[in-house]
Every structure is written in C-alpha cells, then in structure tokens.
Point group: C2
Chain length 233, copies 2
C-alpha cells in the first residue's frame, strides 16, 4: 500500500484531471476552501499541492478570482548544451590555436557593448574526437585588469567556466543561437573537410546580472559529429 502525502494526492489527482481533459485550459479549479473539504486537509496542505501544479505549468492563479488551468506551451524545450560534450561524440582533445589580447573592431565592440578603446581576449581552439577535428571554436572576453589567463586552464574550458573565476556561475545569464552553415575555405582547412558538408554553428552570449555582456563564443561543429537534443518540461 502506498500512502503518499495528502499534498501529493492533490497534485496528482488534479494533474490527472487536466491530462484527461476533464479540466480544460481556462477552466477554473474549485476554490481552495472546497479542495480543503474535499481532501479533508488544511489550506496550507492544499496550497502545497497547488504550488506543484503551478511549478509544472499546469495552473496559474488570479488573486481574488481563483486558480485556473494553464494553456500548455507545446513549443517549450529544455536543451543541454556545452561545447565540450554533445550527443554523438564528446571532445577528448583540444588544441589552442591562439590566445591574444586585441582591440575590438566595430562589430565586436557592439556585440560586447564596450568601448573600442578597451581590450578583448581572443581565444581560438580546435576540438578533437578520436584524432579527428570536429569543431572550430572562437571566444571573445572583455579584458578586465588582473584577469588570470592561464593557458592550461583555457584549453579545456567552456565559456561559462572561463568566466567562473571572475563571476559566480549563478550570476551569469546565457543565450545561445543555433544555425546551419556551409563552411568557408578557412573552416574546411581547419576541420579537414574535403567534400560538401554542413556546419552546425552555435553562438553563446553571456551576461551578468545587469545584462552587461561578459563573453561571446561561436563554435562551428562538423555536422557529422553533433546532434543537439531537447525535451519538454
């Protein structure tokens, strides 16, 4: 016999009613007072169950009116991405092509929302799997005085990791942009591509809590070596 907590029963039974369309998007739930009677529970317990429904996107509430069934977002996915490990083959070796401090050109200064008079750290790398080059990677970090640039640490680091010494990882907001491109001659050479092949290009942009850009990266994956996956919830 399973005797789960009351608040879990509230959660699961209402969830089931929504799943089987007994309750439809926009419908109002019974008032919390009614649910208290129905489950013979206190209001705190009922609200505990409703909180779970809210967290999983099943309901929302309007103060003074009631709790309502949410319209499902059937276009929302959770994707796990980091340039070092992906679906088909993870990176088992890297090669530092270049580490430099440069003056940003117009487009880069714009991208990082910084003055052109400040400096930027440039990092270019190649990623390998089983001896094959599978990705070409470029990063730009606004240079901050005293920023520790240790080549050994840069070699294997993801973009968030490169910044984790200056800023708590919790305080970093991240964007990615995914697209498909044809390699240019430089890419073909670096990635040793002979035939026609597509690249999966992933841009990363990192921001601090004030939405100031603190890093930009672009990774060009040989299309044969990467698939990104996502799931609902």
């Amino acid at each position: 016999m399973t005797s789960s907590p009351v608040y879990l029963r509230v959660f699961e039974e209402i969830k089931e009613k929504i799943n089987c369309s007994e309750l439809k998007p926009g419908d109002i739930l019974p008032p919390e007072s009614a649910l208290c009677k129905q489950y013979g529970a206190s209001r705190a317990t009922v609200r505990n169950g409703l909180a779970l429904l809210f967290n999983e996107g099943y309901i929302y509430s309007i103060p003074g009116k009631g709790n309502f069934v949410q319209s499902p977002q059937s276009n929302k996915y959770t994707v796990y991405y980091d340039e070092m490990s992906n679906m088909i083959s993870s990176v088992d070796d890297t090669k530092l092509l270049e580490v430099d401090i440069i003056s940003p050109e117009e487009y880069l200064a714009n991208l990082l929302q910084m003055s052109k008079s400040k400096n930027v750290i440039l990092i270019r790398r190649l990623f390998f799997n089983d001896g094959e080059p599978i990705a070409y990677d470029v990063k730009y970090l606004p240079y901050v005085k005293g920023m520790p640039i240790v080549e050994k640490e840069i070699e294997q680091a993801t973009l968030p990791e490169m910044l984790s010494k200056d800023i708590s990882p919790f305080a970093i907001k991240r964007h990615i942009r995914i697209q498909a491109q044809i390699p240019n001659e430089e890419m073909k050479k670096q990635l040793r591509i002979k035939e026609h092949l597509a690249l999966l290009v992933v841009e990363q942009k990192l921001f601090d809590n004030d939405n100031k850009p603190i890093g930009y990266g672009i990774t060009y994956f040989n299309g044969d070596y990467i698939k990104l996956e996502g799931r609902s919830q």
Copy 2:
C-alpha cells in the same frame, strides 16, 4: 518604500549571497530554525522562501541534514521551437504535397514502436515565407481508427496540434533533435536551392504518458531562414 513579503526577502537575500559567492555550491544553509529567528518569521514563511530557491535551482535539501547550495547547471537552456514560427522568418503559407495512409517500413515501425501491420498517416508539406520555400516537412502519425484527417486543418498545424484532438496537450511528452545537413537532390529541388547551402534539420518525436510514440516529424529548413534561440533559467 517597498515592503516586500518576508518570504521574498528570504529568497532574495539568500539568492544574493549565492550570487556573490558568499555561499558556495555544497555549502550548507543555516538551519530553518535559525532563519526563523534571523527573519523573525515562522517556519512556514521561511520554507516558502526556500521553496523559491529550490524551484530556481539554487538549493536542494537532504532530510535530517540540511539545505545546501546547488552546483549551477551552466549547460541548461530553454528553447522555444515550433516548425511554423522561428527566429528569422515565420511561415506565412504552406503547401500540402501529400497526405496518405501507408504501411510502415522496418525503420518507421521501429521508430514509432508499432507493428508493421498497422497503418501510418504520412503528411508531406512545404513551408513558404514571402513566396520562397523555406522548409520541407514530413510527419508520420500511427493511424488510429476514426482519426479525423481534415486537410484544411492539417495544412497549417504543428505536430502537437495535429494530435491535440486525440490526446490532451498536457499528456504529450516531446523530444527534438537538431542537426545540420547538406541537402540531397530532392531537397534542393523542393526548396529551389541552387548553390551550396546547409539545412537545419529538426526532428520531433511525441510520446504519450506511457512513453508510447504517437508521432514523428522531421523538418528540413533552408539554413538561411532559421535560427533557434535559447536562454538560461
């Protein structure tokens, strides 16, 4: 003057301590009883604030031990994808190339985890933007007796929408897989591609609550017309 609820202050002040590394991953929080004293609040109020921290991935708890700071997942992104609307250009017109009921071949029966003796609905479409073909789209749905196939409704529907009449959208689990490919001759013809160009290929797989596949779709986007975006949180 802002006088936010006590539980929000608990949430924000602890979040800030984590963001500025005063509390590091693995660190233990003060016991709830101590937080009650610190904020002059009841345990329910403190736990309300801790629940928010938990929901946003800042902390986890071990019964009998305490609440701990979570290691941040700096590789998790939320992506909004649906085959009809994407970053660069949305679909403003569609063309139904084929709607058919077919016997699945080996690979398809496997993909949909169904018997080869059952039937599958096949839907092939072209998506247009401003008169240009931007995507080629194929869907497979296991045929269920009495399934309503109304061409007018199929034309503009996303994969989840096609199934929403049989199953509540809440009860559908979704997977996507994203990759880059070179178009074959058929694709080039359909999408009127002349030069070299990359395709962004997005597979969708839908499951019911018992993890039984209920639909598969694959969409080949002209790489010039699509960018997918994701953000942390």
